[in-house]
């Protein structure tokens, strides 16, 4: 009773008129014959029953609908892969998208792209659902009523025509920061037509502080590139560089590379994190200090002074000393950290988070210069748009202009400023006073509602574009599907507004022209004339001499760029040096944020799931357990246990958080590891017009955010409201492993003394295997009973895992895992095949305590036991053991007794209590929308009500690779099969392969000294092997 997603080449059953085949039923006798006799009547009855019977048993008639004209390169049933790119904050992530007969279904990273290196984060994985969001806008709207693109073009075109006289003085455009060279080119074209018009930039989550810090220290806003893999000491000051900051995917890859342990002799880098709220970065740290966001600048300045004592002379020493404030920091966090940094000159990094003010960023540049890290582990690259500096100032300039009645037409391209603009700007009210306002967006949202016009914007996966990565690499964004809802891209809209000044009208032409200039520049050519009829063009080479270019060469390079996903790579890092006195001036001129009378501070961070609210209607992300709290479908005001005690609140209580006249009421969640006196609120929740599932989840933090306090606001007052407790749902209610040996960890010193700590710390076997089995952890596998052929296994390196959750979403996308909704999660019915367990440890050796625990994240999916407890209890043999060691689940045999789940010690089996796809979150809106069905993987059964399911080691990928190898008459290569979680893991923590092969990567890892089998003492002989976590603690911090 299972069904699959409709597949254009293999369509779902089309119910045609019931037709019974020839040869089964005779033609019924004619009417006269019926009336003739009793015998005839009986015959007619028999024929009728036969017809009814035949109809009842007949399977529905299914049609095969082939193409009329076959598109080139399409093989029905075999997915194609296309390279494209997506913007993530200030970075571009290169992607490879799997497409089934023109229907994109799965996002993967592009190995050729420097910001991806083959991996994607959880947002990248979930972005495919945004494309198919059933609540995307389908038509332009005027004042809320549907209108046509022609009407829109006519009205805006006429209005723009009147602006030509005064050069567009009353025209304003508002858009999020762009890293697209073509969008920036079109923006320049718009400026040529309307020199007095202004393009403002706003995004609730931006890198403004980093840019201003770089401008102060280095003279221009530059991107800073960190070579974490070469670093020995990394200090992150309020920087969640592994999850929410720009460039996090590459950061994960590089950090894991610098901390990879293959034996006890290997070295690993040391990560210090100072932060107010728990993040993936803080959970990964070797030493973590919880410190209110407002105190971090003071700590940074004090640390600069401490570095001077260690002989590292920092520019702006005097200014830093004046600004230093270190009262709240344990002294060893200054002395020991400074000493560690000074001892690792040239290999030390100091990261500053985007929440911290510009002068702290400037100071980090000075520290890097003084430590000699520039050129070794710190490099610089030019930004895509040097004009983008401080988005808050820019937005304020716009609202001031509106207030001064200087704006007649405002075009908002993307973003949702009515929802996310700082509260003190009163943006919604001011927007209402603009005579003509246009909002281009994916859905008809809060901002669209307040504008006179709304037009649908094309998604990144359905329009041409390009994007420049942090390091300067430019990639083309290829459309994977024609616009689903008649949307248009920013390039098209800007080209329309630039009118005759637009160099190209069609987005493809515009993107191609940008790429061609870059390709020619790559060949050392510039200033090319247009190509003539023969395809020749006259250019100038680097020395200024004339040189020829040929169109076919350009076409070849363009096609190669599309296939590879990279058009242009930078020649090398950009040289930059400190502006004399720049850092000192920045520190001296620092503005201390507003401080109210209250005792608390509130920090605002982009939600790892919702980002700034853009993904609020994404069911996968809504149901994803938060890394720190394991809450689903909500955010919360996070408090430390101490702060909660002080306020007299507990989990679920409502508090009113007030900063001046701005206030927010939110429910409380208590998290150990949160800084005392600091409340964390993530952005992007509490949307009102997100769509059919995204409205009214969690608490909106934006009403508390002001232009002078975008990162955090100090001195807020917090009062308990006394309302009834809020209902939260959590996937993991237990935080401690209660000293049970589940997730093993040790300090580096302990590891060196006792390399196989993970196995030794585990209990002795409580049950012996029922029969002799091969031990793949021992080399070589000698057992006479060792099975031949492929034996699949997996390793999960807990030392690399940061708990970023990308694997969880990748698994949902690959395996058609349903979403069940908040109440069902609360009942323990979540369906994730892969979950990330997190445990708190308060060992003093890790510098941890009960209120500030050391965190370990452990991804758990079916471990494919060789002696699986689930198999023994299934009454119908629905779960059986395959010859390659897979614990197999046949959905069609399952009768839903749930014995297997009860007998599984890992709790990885998930039961379909309902037909989740239709009857959970989409129950009241007519079931799973058709567009979301388009996302589903046609190679995986969509499970129905009443069956058990679990991780399959992505058996569809195993089978298709095996079939490919068989077809090509060769053996499978190691690494040819990658599970969805492995492929997307930015830290390379998960490795899958054949443990029966001596040369495979997974075999080498399975035999590492840090290995342990999760709950192996039960005699289950899991095929998934975990590698223990090692914390590189500094003995001087003890």
């Amino acid at each position: 009773m299972s069904k699959r997603a409709p597949n254009p080449a293999r369509p779902a059953a089309i119910d045609a008129a019931p037709e019974f085949p020839k040869g089964h039923v005779d033609t019924p006798p004619s009417e006269e014959a019926l009336l003739l006799s009793r015998r005839g009547l009986l015959g007619a009855m028999a024929a009728t029953f036969a017809v009814v019977g035949a109809e009842g048993c007949r399977r529905p008639i299914e049609k095969i609908v082939p193409y009329t004209k076959m598109p080139e390169d399409v093989i029905p049933g075999v997915p194609s892969h296309y390279a494209t790119v997506m913007q993530r904050r200030g970075d571009a992530i290169g992607l490879v998208v799997e497409s089934h007969e023109g229907r994109p279904t799965k996002i993967e990273g592009n190995e050729a792209h420097p910001s991806s290196l083959g991996a994607v984060d959880l947002i990248g994985q979930a972005s495919i659902l945004e494309l198919y969001d059933p609540d995307r806008s389908t038509t332009p709207r005027k004042g809320g009523a549907p209108a046509s693109w022609d009407d829109f073009e006519h009205e805006l075109g006429a209005k723009l025509g009147t602006f030509d006289k005064d050069q567009g003085a009353k025209l304003r455009v508002l858009m999020p920061p762009s890293i697209s060279p073509t969008v920036l080119r079109m923006r320049d074209a718009l400026a040529q037509r309307f020199p007095k018009a202004r393009v403002h930039t706003w995004s609730a989550v931006a890198d403004s502080n980093a840019r201003m810090g770089a401008k102060a220290a280095l003279g221009e806003p530059l991107n800073t590139l960190y070579a974490y893999e070469k670093a020995r000491v990394i200090l992150a000051l309020d920087s969640d560089f592994l999850q929410t900051e720009s460039g996090s995917v590459r950061a994960n890859k590089a950090l894991a590379a610098g901390r990879r342990l293959r034996s006890a002799k290997d070295a690993m880098s040391r990560l210090y994190v100072v932060e107010p709220a728990r993040t993936a970065t803080g959970d990964t740290a070797d030493h973590r200090l919880r410190l209110a966001a407002g105190d971090i600048a003071g700590y940074a300045f004090a640390l600069a002074g401490e570095l001077a004592k260690s002989g590292v002379a920092i520019d702006a020493q005097g200014s830093a000393a004046k600004a230093a404030a270190s009262a709240k920091v344990p002294p060893k966090w200054l002395t020991a950290v400074a000493k560690d940094l000074a001892q690792n000159r040239g290999h030390a990094i100091v990261m500053v988070g985007s929440r911290q003010p510009p002068e702290v960023h400037a100071l980090a540049h000075a520290i890097h210069a003084a430590l000699g890290s520039v050129g070794t582990v710190v490099n610089y690259a030019a930004v895509a748009d040097p004009a983008e500096l401080d988005v808050a100032t820019d937005l304020k300039a716009l609202t001031d202009a509106i207030a001064a009645k200087q704006v007649e037409t405002l075009v908002i391209l993307g973003g949702n400023p009515v929802y996310d603009a700082p509260a003190d700007l009163a943006f919604p009210e001011k927007l209402a006073s603009v005579p003509l306002s246009v909002h281009a967006s994916l859905s008809f949202d809060e901002t669209s509602e307040k504008c006179s016009w709304h037009v649908p914007r094309a998604h990144e996966y359905e329009s041409w574009g390009d994007a420049q990565a942090l390091d300067g690499t430019v990639s083309v964004q290829q459309p994977l599907i024609a616009p689903l809802y008649d949307g248009r891209s920013d390039i098209e809209l800007l080209a329309f507004m630039a009118g005759p000044r637009a160099p190209q009208k069609a987005p493809l032409d515009a993107v191609r022209a940008t790429a061609q200039a870059l390709i020619l520049a790559g060949h050392g050519l510039s200033g090319c004339a247009p190509f003539d009829e023969r395809g020749d063009a006259e250019c100038k080479d680097a020395t200024g001499n004339p040189a020829g270019a040929h169109e076919y060469e350009l076409d070849r390079d363009w096609n190669r760029a599309l296939a590879m996903g990279v058009v242009h790579r930078p020649q090398g890092p950009k040289a930059a040096s400190l502006v004399p006195n720049g850092v000192a001036q920045a520190i001296d001129a620092r503005k201390v944020g507003p401080k109210g009378s209250g005792a608390f501070e509130v920090t605002f961070a982009p939600c790892p799931k919702m980002v700034d609210g853009r993904y609020a209607n994404n069911t996968w992300l809504l149901e994803l357990p938060d890394g720190a709290t394991k809450l689903v479908w909500d955010n919360a005001a996070l408090l430390s246990p101490e702060s909660a005690k002080q306020l007299g609140v507990e989990k679920g209580d409502f508090v009113k958080i007030a900063a001046g006249d701005r206030s927010v009421t939110a429910a409380v969640w208590v998290v150990p590891g949160q800084a005392d006196g600091s409340i964390a609120l993530t952005l992007g929740w509490g949307r009102k017009k997100a769509g059919r599932v995204g409205n009214d989840h969690g608490f909106d933090a934006y009403p508390l955010r002001a232009t002078d306090a975008l990162g955090f606001v100090s001195g807020v007052t917090v009062t308990k409201t006394g309302d009834e407790q809020y209902f939260f749902a959590q996937t993991q209610e237990h935080s401690s492993s209660e000293n049970r040996p589940i997730a093993h960890q040790a300090t580096l010193a302990e590891y060196r003394v006792k390399p196989n700590f993970a196995e030794l710390d585990g209990p002795p076997p409580r049950a012996l295997p029922l029969w002799s089995q091969a031990d793949y952890g021992e080399a070589p596998v000698k057992d006479a009973h060792a099975p031949s052929g492929h034996q699949w296994g997996m390793t999960v390196d807990l030392n690399a895992c940061t708990g970023c959750n990308a694997c969880v979403i990748a698994c949902m996308a690959e395996n058609n895992v349903p979403v069940v909704g908040k109440r069902e999660v609360w009942r323990g019915r979540e369906m994730h095949w892969l979950r990330i367990d997190r445990y708190y440890a308060d060992r003093a050796e890790f510098g941890a305590s009960a209120d500030d625990p050391a965190v370990i994240n452990e991804p758990v999916m079916c471990v494919h036991c060789e002696e699986a407890p689930c198999e023994n209890v299934c009454p119908v043999n629905a779960t059986t053991h395959g010859p390659e060691g897979l614990n197999e689940m046949a959905y069609n045999r399952c009768i839903g007794t749930r014995y297997c789940a009860n007998n599984c010690p890992y709790k990885v089996r998930r039961f379909n209590y309902l037909n989740w796809h239709n009857d959970a979150v989409f129950k009241d809106t007519g079931g799973l929308p058709e567009t979301l069905q388009m996302q589903q993987n046609p190679n995986v059964t969509v499970r129905f009500r009443g069956v058990m399911e679990k991780c399959s080691y992505c058996v569809q990928r195993i089978q298709s690779s095996k079939i490919k190898a068989k077809r090509e008459l060769r053996e499978l290569k190691d690494g040819e099969i990658r599970t969805a979680c492995q492929q997307t893991c930015p830290a390379d923590a998960i490795v899958f392969g054949d443990v029966n092969s001596e040369s495979s990567a997974v075999t080498r890892l399975t035999r590492l000294d840090r290995r342990f089998g999760l709950l192996a003492e039960l005699g289950t002989r899991p095929r998934t092997t975990y590698l223990g976590k090692v914390r590189n603690t500094n003995p001087e911090m003890a």
Binding site: K63, I64, Y67, K69, I75, G77, P883, E888, N892, K966
Partner: protein, 213 residues
């Protein structure tokens, strides 16, 4: 005193009759679900165009792969696009009334809607390419297509029927009568005489996830 009422004297007969009826019913159900009636052997629906495999594949001798081009490289052999028909029928039988739907489809771009005959359940992930490249001929599952005026389902395509072949091939390798040289896969007249050298070690799956997933 009588504990049981007299009417209960009939109980053994009633129980006996019910048991007999039940047994007959169960036998019938088992017989039915294993019979060609259930598996629809012989199913031969009318197609929108009475395309004759007997004429094209038999008499004219077109190779199966002229139309079913992906059979060696994809899970689906593929029903050909209208374009493939028009390759010839632009020149041959251009005024045939029977071919009108093909010409209409070509002119309008609206695809043909053929009736599916060989249907496996959606939870079965059958792959043509892996069978064909192992030396399993078309005839093994589709029968003498070259003799069919209107295609009919020849084999039950049930799981037991699949496994019979998988087990036979695994045991006998090239000696199995289901295996032929890869060059002969579309040959309808080929006869198994003696051992065939298969292109690779044949290891057809017998476990659940071999075909279901």
């Amino acid at each position: 005193m009588q504990i049981f009422s007299r009417s209960l004297n009939k109980l053994p007969q009633v129980v006996g009759a019910a048991a007999t009826l039940g047994l007959v019913g169960v036998t019938f159900l088992i017989w039915y679900y294993f019979s060609p009636w259930f598996t629809q052997v012989g199913y031969s629906p009318k197609q929108p165009v009475p395309y004759s495999h007997r004429l094209h594949a038999g008499e004219l001798g077109l190779d199966c792969r002229y139309c079913h081009v992906n059979v060696e490289r994809a899970p689906m052999a593929m029903v050909p696009p209208t374009e493939t028909c028009m390759n010839c029928h632009q020149l041959v039988k251009t005024d045939s009334a029977m071919l009108q739907p093909i010409r209409d489809s070509w002119a309008s771009g609206k695809p043909m809607e053929w009736v599916r005959i060989h249907k496996l359940p959606d939870y079965v992930y059958f792959d043509h390419s892996v069978h064909v490249t192992a030396g399993v001929g078309c005839i093994e599952c589709h029968g003498r297509i070259d003799k069919m005026e209107q295609v009919r389902m020849e084999k039950p395509l049930s799981m037991g029927w699949c496994l019979d072949c998988h087990r036979d091939v695994k045991e006998k390798q090239g000696d199995s009568e289901h295996i032929r040289p890869v060059a002969q896969i579309t040959n309808m007249e080929w006869k198994h005489e003696g051992k065939v050298d298969p292109p690779r070690r044949l290891d057809p799956p017998e476990n659940c996830w071999g075909c279901h997933r």
